[in-house]
Symmetry: C2
Subunit: 387 residues, 2 copies
């Protein structure tokens, strides 16, 4: 059987160019503990600092503002910890948007269990939080932390969050941004954004699974997230995932090149738009979620009437196309997407939605193959499930 | 220059036989997110479960009792979270031995910051907590959690902890055991030990850095440690470090073979003893820390009078021998070992101590090279630093 066409890059991306090669020396001869006190250990430490510079460069930060973690979920939990562990929950709120990833919802729930009120920021049908919505919640509650996603993992919708830092800080709250889906798709200037913490996950942009990063705007007196051997400048203890960090450094370099390649990003968005056009034309009643919003160029999520993803996805797989209903982290639950319902979809519409997330280079043959497979499968299903 | 003789295996071990080979497919073609809903993702999920069985086999546990984490520090913090997050700190204590790794001390300190009293269990000059010491602390305090190290990372001393589970549980407390230094060196039967949680770190036994495991005796109603996509049966959210997990599975298989190779372990202990004898004979006034206790067979920590490790270690490195003063996680601080001071050493004695931790196969030529280098360097120093 031919290699399937992998269109689930928002779930996880394969290792990028040069990433495995950069990791191998640190899995083989350079196996030393970076906390060791001899020359070869110092070389490993220096390599980690090189990777930190690459990650910092990607987001316009200083290296000391970057700490490595085990992934996006840990980064988000660390940010919540920094913001909330020193606070009394009495009458204080944690504010998260209605379209957050399960890691953010989970972190909020954990702190709800410790006494914080959790409030949701509603989104409109384009997946955007209106500025007035944020202002109202900031005025009505006493938020300690606001957490919002930058580029939605399902729809690709990019929040209009410029100017939010001032609002949130003026209300006395901290701001965490989940930018897990941004690297390589969206130019990032972390200091200009003004968020206190920004979470990243390596495997979403060509580093291996199990490594992530957290940007911190300024040093605080918060206690360490994991307290141990003082690694990561005391911010996150535990022997470093050296090979993962080196791979993330290389992937960050690749991601920066990608976002600097304006023509490449435009071509990718064009390719995505062509794919959408082909499907919209071929599947009566279909529509694109969040199409009124700016979106990252590799992502589309479509409503396909009469096509429950539980049935559509195996049909597509049989045709050699691997895609998803929405978040991979929720894929095994088979519940309709909360993101789409927050954007006004009915549970039925949400359940009949397909997420396609493309690689940076997506050639026209693959596009045609994908579009034809999706149109055929959707029409086959629609015949049997008339609306 | 010849490859240095690496005698710091307790800081981190190189990848074991077959480990990198087992990981490579999951860094290359099998890059899928294990939460994906298509065949190739299910294969990745199945491979993770295979690795979980290997880790479970190593410690005599059921696979569902094993959750993967990013390492020993995270495992320990997760155990503390499970034990303490649902408790009110009012008048409750966390009890840790005086010879714990910085990860455990750090976790205790974090919970001290949340209102728990932290009590220390003193050790004798052999590095052992007397049973009466434990009984007294359990009677005097209202402990919620007791955390003890099984095999000490510096001295290799194995605590006599059999029978402790009953005492600790009878006092209404939970028990966490840091077994990070045990795999491959010590046969483990996690259920028989009776601890509620046991922490492991992959890179200490031939898996890569950045992956660990936590044994949990029984399901509890505690909230998830990292809450997110429901991975690790809801115990630890976040996309799995797939390649790390697969590598850990293979390393666990190797470690089980090692501990089942009784002759090999005896030979290793013999080799370590010969090395010690050579040094004790060659360095007047030297002695082995914890020599009255059972110790893991690859570890020795010696007091070498007049030989501050800050000076001795670079001398040894120049002679092609890489070793350490004690914990790698504390190596960059250059403070005298708290473990040794808890065992009755003066700060000067602790500062003049050398840890040597051997690979499983340590040939006589390497032993002679190491012993001669240490004796020469120590005598050179002693001439200039007469006691």
């Amino acid at each position: 059987m031919a290699t399937p066409l992998y269109l689930d890059h928002n779930a996880t991306a394969p290792l990028g160019p040069g990433v495995l090669q950069s990791m191998l020396p640190f899995l083989e001869q350079q196996h030393f503990n970076p906390s060791g006190d001899y020359g070869p250990a110092l070389e490993v430490r220096a390599a980690i600092e090189g990777a930190r510079r690459e990650m910092a460069n990607l987001v316009g930060a200083a290296p000391r503002q970057i700490a490595f973690t085990s992934g996006g979920t840990e980064s988000t939990h660390a940010a919540f910890h920094y913001a909330l562990d020193v606070e009394s929950p009495q009458d204080r709120a944690v504010v998260v948007s209605a379209v957050e990833h399960s890691a953010t919802k989970g972190a909020a729930k954990a702190w709800q269990g410790r006494g914080f009120e959790v409030c949701s920021l509603d989104v409109n049908t384009s997946g955007q939080v209106a500025k007035e919505t944020l202002e109202r919640v900031l005025a009505d509650k006493r938020p300690t932390l606001v957490s919002t996603i930058l580029a939605n993992n399902e729809t690709g919708v990019i929040q209009h969050i410029h100017g939010w830092a001032e609002l949130i800080h003026a209300a006395g709250a901290h701001w965490h941004v989940d930018a897990v889906q941004a690297p390589g798709k969206l130019a990032l200037d972390a200091p200009a954004l003004g968020a206190d913490w920004i979470s990243f996950s390596g495997h979403k942009f060509g580093a291996p699974k199990g490594i992530g990063a957290l940007f911190t705007r300024k040093d605080s007196s918060s206690p360490s997230w994991l307290v141990g051997g003082g690694q990561e400048h005391g911010k996150r203890g535990g022997t470093e995932n050296v090979a993962g960090i080196i791979g993330l450094g290389r992937a960050a370099k690749n991601a920066l090149e990608q976002v600097q390649d304006r023509a490449g990003l435009i071509e990718l968005a064009h390719s995505r738009d062509e794919l959408e056009a082909h499907i919209l034309e071929g599947v009566p009643g279909s529509r694109v979620h969040g199409s009124q919003s700016p979106r990252v160029p590799n992502t589309t999520q479509l409503f396909l009437p009469g096509c429950p993803s539980e049935i559509l996805l195996p049909l597509l797989e049989a045709k050699g196309v691997l895609a998803s209903a929405g978040s991979a982290c929720d894929a095994t639950h088979h519940a309709p997407s909360e993101v789409l319902m927050a954007m006004g979809c009915t549970p039925e519409e949400a359940a009949c939605s397909l997420r396609i997330s493309l690689p940076f280079h997506f050639d026209p043959e693959a596009r045609t193959q994908a579009a034809c497979a999706i149109v055929e499968a959707a029409n086959l299903l629609a015949v049997h499930n008339p609306q």
